[in-house]
């Protein structure tokens, strides 16, 4: 059995090519570990047989030295990406038996480069949530536990399954999506690296939509280098997505390294007022020091409208979602509850098929778009959005990157916030402004809090400047002292 905890993507890639182990061995080891980690509830669907067969194919290619860039490397896919012939549920009862006949652009690209689908990872239902507690298949557990308590923690959300699986070494890397922090927040909660690329960088085609103007796919990985390697193969123009950018792509791995001397990082000090825990504030100070040590200038900046990002987001995202989820009506695919008349069928199907949080957001979104309220809520939020965006544009006039914590607190207990939507929403207070502005951002494990739980720092750069994210990000990776490896308490 391989020690998967030591294996990141870059290491696996090299080892496979050198013949240290085979893809079949590797896939077998992951399947074994997954089978022993059922308690975490990370995977909705496994793809074992196919994965083993594909691994054998990859081994043949590697032997013949005609391997593809990501040959034989297993990957977990958030259950929001449509995968041809493999059930895609969005962790919703509504789609519990939905099997796409098509492959999302992102998974298509990754599989084309030789990656192997090991299974579909849990998430908050339709990506709506910040704790992975809204999945109809039950909550995902965070592989991290407090040293002082036996309570289970949430892995964050909505990409909680992806973050927990990478953290627990149940796959070396995973895909995820981020609408208001759904990649970065769970990455921060689980000690993994979560990248939200620039809006338009990765195709949305074939990803179950939550809020179209905000949704963006990205990877969750163990290292910054892995994140760069993944983006290299996920990014790219897609003619099937009208919001896909034609911006130039590069080999992002090559960006890492090189001196940052003379570059400037911006610190929005007003964020300190946003109820950020003391441990995280201190960790933020440490991170600032690491940059100073690397010769980076530190500049105080203002993002005066960012405090309004959360309420703006909770108008815009539900509004788009209320429309995006109208297609789940029991007629063409998905769950259906019969009704006497059509209206009954619709209402019963959607009443039974959607969970509580999804219904709440659809209702909220329907309300803010409805006659008489559109201007007061939806239009107002879109105007505030422009001001938030403009704050960033102004800030990037004088800094190369912005550094903030990813979340105001570390992972909380399962059940702790479910009864209070507003408290749950406040988790995303530091990540949401980035989505509204369409900027790229990354969360990097930066320390452990007093309970031994991971904290993460968020870096934000200009549109389409992911290269700088990786460059600046590696400083944190090199400077931090903690190890980000949870203990295997959940194993059988």
């Amino acid at each position: 059995m391989l020690d998967l905890k030591k294996l990141d993507l870059v290491t696996i890639r090299n080892s496979l090519r050198k013949g240290d182990f085979t893809s079949e061995e590797l896939v077998g080891s992951y399947i074994d570990r997954i089978n022993n980690s059922k308690k975490l509830n990370t995977y909705n669907t496994l793809n074992i047989e196919n994965a083993i067969n594909l691994a054998k194919e990859s081994d043949k290619r590697i032997l013949k030295k005609n391997y593809r860039p990501m040959e034989g490397i297993p990957i977990g896919i958030k259950d929001l990406f449509c995968t041809k012939g493999v059930k895609t549920t969005a962790s919703s009862k509504m789609l519990e038996n939905f099997t796409p006949t098509y492959e999302s652009t992102i998974t298509e690209k990754l599989f084309y480069q030789g990656m192997i689908l090991i299974g579909k990872l849990s998430n908050d239902e339709f990506a709506m949530g910040s704790s992975n507690e809204t999945s109809y298949l039950g909550p995902v557990l965070n592989p991290w536990k407090k040293e002082t308590s036996d309570q289970y923690l949430v892995p964050g959300g909505s990409s909680g399954g992806s973050a927990a699986a990478v953290s627990a070494s149940l796959c070396p890397v995973a895909t995820a999506t981020d609408t208001g922090g759904s990649i970065r927040q769970p990455a921060s909660f689980t000690g993994t690296v979560g990248l939200k690329p620039t809006y338009g960088r990765c195709s949305r085609w074939g990803i179950v939509a939550f809020a179209s103007s905000l949704d963006q796919a990205g990877p969750i990985t163990k290292t910054v280098a892995d994140s760069a390697a993944m983006l290299t193969h996920m990014a790219g123009y897609d003619e099937k997505d009208s919001t896909s950018s034609t911006a130039k792509n590069e080999n992002y791995e090559e960006a890492i390294g090189g001196s940052l001397k003379g570059k400037t990082i911006g610190i929005p000090h007003e964020f300190e007022r946003l109820d950020i825990s003391l441990d995280i504030q201190n960790n933020w100070e440490s991170a600032i020091q690491w940059y100073k040590d690397a010769g980076v200038n530190i500049k105080s900046i203002k993002l005066p409208h960012s405090k309004y990002a959360l309420p703006a987001y909770y108008i815009i995202a539900p509004a788009e979602a209320s429309s995006n989820l109208a297609r789940y009506d029991g007629v063409k695919y998905g769950s259906r509850v019969e009704g006497e008349v059509l209206d009954d069928l619709y209402k019963k199907t959607r009443g039974a098929g959607f969970g509580e949080e999804v219904k709440r957001r659809i209702m909220m979104g329907t309300y803010v778009l409805s006659a008489g309220y559109y201007d007061a809520y939806y239009l107002k939020a879109q105007k505030v959005r422009r001001l938030i965006h403009q704050d960033f544009v102004d800030a990037f006039g004088s800094v190369d990157a912005i550094l903030t914590p990813t979340t105001p607190t570390t992972a909380f207990e399962i059940g702790e916030n479910v009864s209070d939507p507003l408290k749950m929403y406040s988790n995303d207070i530091l990540t949401v402004p980035v989505n509204l502005a369409g900027l790229p951002a990354i969360s990097i494990p930066s320390g452990l809090d007093k309970d031994g739980i991971p904290m993460g720092m968020q870096l934000i750069t200009k549109h389409f400047d992911e290269n700088s994210l990786f460059q600046f990000g590696s400083i944190i990776e090199m400077s931090r002292s903690d190890m980000f490896q949870p203990k295997d308490w959940w194993m059988n």
Binding site: K332, R350, G351, K359, M363, T366, K383, P421, H463
Partner: protein
């Protein structure tokens, strides 16, 4: 602004989601407090500010007029809960 029970019922009808009496009351209080919270946006002066619906600024890209899709009846119907003769089927609609 506080939301009435009638508004919740109107919205659930627009959204085509059946809700129980208990859910109605719960949603009424939750959505009221969310609405109250988002109204903090009123603190922001947005006079003369254009709404921003997307962070991308380029124009809509257009595709060539080619027929390169369709003829995939099996794919369209594979996940269909009820289907007959290649049609989707719903309870009778009276116009």
């Amino acid at each position: 602004m506080s939301i009435t029970k009638d508004t919740i019922l109107k919205i659930s009808n627009l959204a085509k989601i059946s809700i129980t009496e208990d859910e109605t009351l719960k949603l009424q209080s939750e959505i009221s407090s969310i609405i109250k919270w988002v109204e903090t946006l009123n603190e922001v002066n947005t006079d003369d500010i254009e709404p921003m619906t997307n962070s991308l600024t380029n124009s809509l890209r257009m595709r060539e007029d080619n027929v390169n899709d369709g003829n995939k009846i099996r794919d369209i119907l594979l996940n269909s809960p009820t289907e007959d003769d290649n049609f989707f089927v719903v309870p009778k609609v009276i116009e």
